[in-house]
Amino acid sequence: MRMSITKQNRKDDGDEKRMKALNNDKPVFVQIIEMIEDDILSGTYGMDDLIISTPQISKLLSVNPTTAQHAISILTDRGIIYKKRGVGMAVSENSREMILKERKDVFFKRAVPDFIDGAKKIGITGDELLQVVKENLND
């Protein structure tokens, strides 16, 4: 499990962390969503814990505050976080389950077919593939 970006390093300053934290493949708001989700999955944030604030995200990752706000509002709409009056945004009760369900959907719909396609392309048979998966699971 990689280190939490949104919780541990809050006091550090922007640019250097941004290079490590953000990549170029996805929109910035998607990456912010994934970081917060990762921290909920890893237990860095528990239920009802306050998450990092929008200005903090903006400073930490050196991103536009409206982009940070965009990410937070999507997480709120999805019910993963909720507004705690006067203090900030907190982690909802079923957030872990919601995130896991979505991640699993993506895994089965995309990662698995890609993995099998990749194996087929280089001539790996179904039996070999099953064998490899079993071996790796046992490691």
């Binding site: 170029n24 493949d25 996805k26 929109p27 910035v28 708001f29 903006s58 050196s62 991103v63 536009n64 505050p65 409206t66 982009t67 965009h70 995309r110």
Partner: protein, 283 residues
């Protein structure tokens, strides 16, 4: 609220604004991007009533704007703005005397943060410090609409950083509309809320800055794969080398696939694709 309807501005044979329409309603930080000669300064001066449109209507908060009726709610700072050559402390006092809404505490605090020497006369200041003094007077003016034409021109990187913070703070203190034109795109990208791109006197793009984060990306790979992947998408530019092709897209995101990679476009690359590319973009 600022409204321009079919505004055209001609200087002799040169058309600086060509049938230009825009509505700026929500308060916030707007960034105005455009190449040299695209019409940025003409647009800003037209809104401020410093120049008169050749045709079309300009309204600020429901009142028609022209050179005889310069809007009270607008504060315009042009590049290389001149001020009375008096000590800055007197300059600020004078600004406060003319304008009761002038926020002297904010002005003093900001001058301190920028190491502005309040005892110096305006003309004794460096180019960058002059710009800073003029910008501070604008930000402290309490006006609802601020128009800053290339405010960071001549600022060193540290001053620019402080300037952006100051801009955000002054907008947090009071709900206002700030329009900033600049060529330092990677910096304003982190501050602006709305984006306007002007090219050849016309509005090329007007959107929430998050739309660029969401919709602007490039697809890179061998030409046939890239073309197959981007079919039906809005391609705003492309470059090719050997059998490889890189296409710039402004549209919904696609998934990575065989034979091509995806990469986000930053605002600067996006801007270049929009106004500098060979392909006709958008709309």
């Amino acid at each position: 609220m600022i409204e321009l309807k079919n505004v055209t501005k001609e200087y002799g044979r040169t058309v600086a604004l060509n049938d230009f329409s825009i509505t700026i309603g929500q308060p916030g930080i707007y960034c105005l991007l455009g190449r040299n000669g695209a019409g940025k300064t003409t647009l800003l001066k037209t809104i401020a009533g410093h120049i008169a449109a050749t045709s079309g209507a300009v309204m600020v908060n429901g009142k028609a704007v022209d050179m005889l009726a310069m809007p009270d709610d607008v504060f315009f700072v042009e590049t290389g703005a001149a001020q009375f050559n008096i000590r800055l402390t007197d300059l600020f006092s004078a600004a406060a005397k003319i304008n009761p809404a002038f926020d002297m505490d904010f002005a003093r605090e900001m001058a301190r943060r920028f190491d502005l020497d309040m005892k110096k006369r305006f003309k004794q200041l460096s180019f960058g410090m002059k710009a800073m003094a003029s910008t501070l007077i604008a930000l402290s003016s309490g006006r609802e609409i601020l128009i800053l034409d290339e405010p960071v021109l001549g600022f060193d990187p540290v001053m620019r950083k402080v300037f952006y913070e100051l801009l955000q703070e002054s907008c947090a203190v009071k709900s206002r509309t700030v329009i900033v034109s600049t060529h330092i795109i990677d910096e304003i990208e982190k501050v602006a809320e709305q984006l306007m791109i002007i090219d050849k006197g016309q509005l090329k793009l007007y959107c929430d800055i998050n739309e660029v984060d969401e919709k602007a990306y490039s697809v890179i790979g061998s030409a046939e794969y890239v073309k197959a992947a981007t079919e039906g998408l809005n391609v705003i530019g492309e470059t090719s080398a050997g059998g490889f092709l890189s296409q710039y897209i402004y549209d919904k995101r696609i998934d990575a696939g065989e034979g091509y990679d995806l990469s986000s476009l930053n605002l600067q690359d996006f801007f270049i694709a929009i106004v500098g590319g060979e392909k006709e973009a958008l709309q």
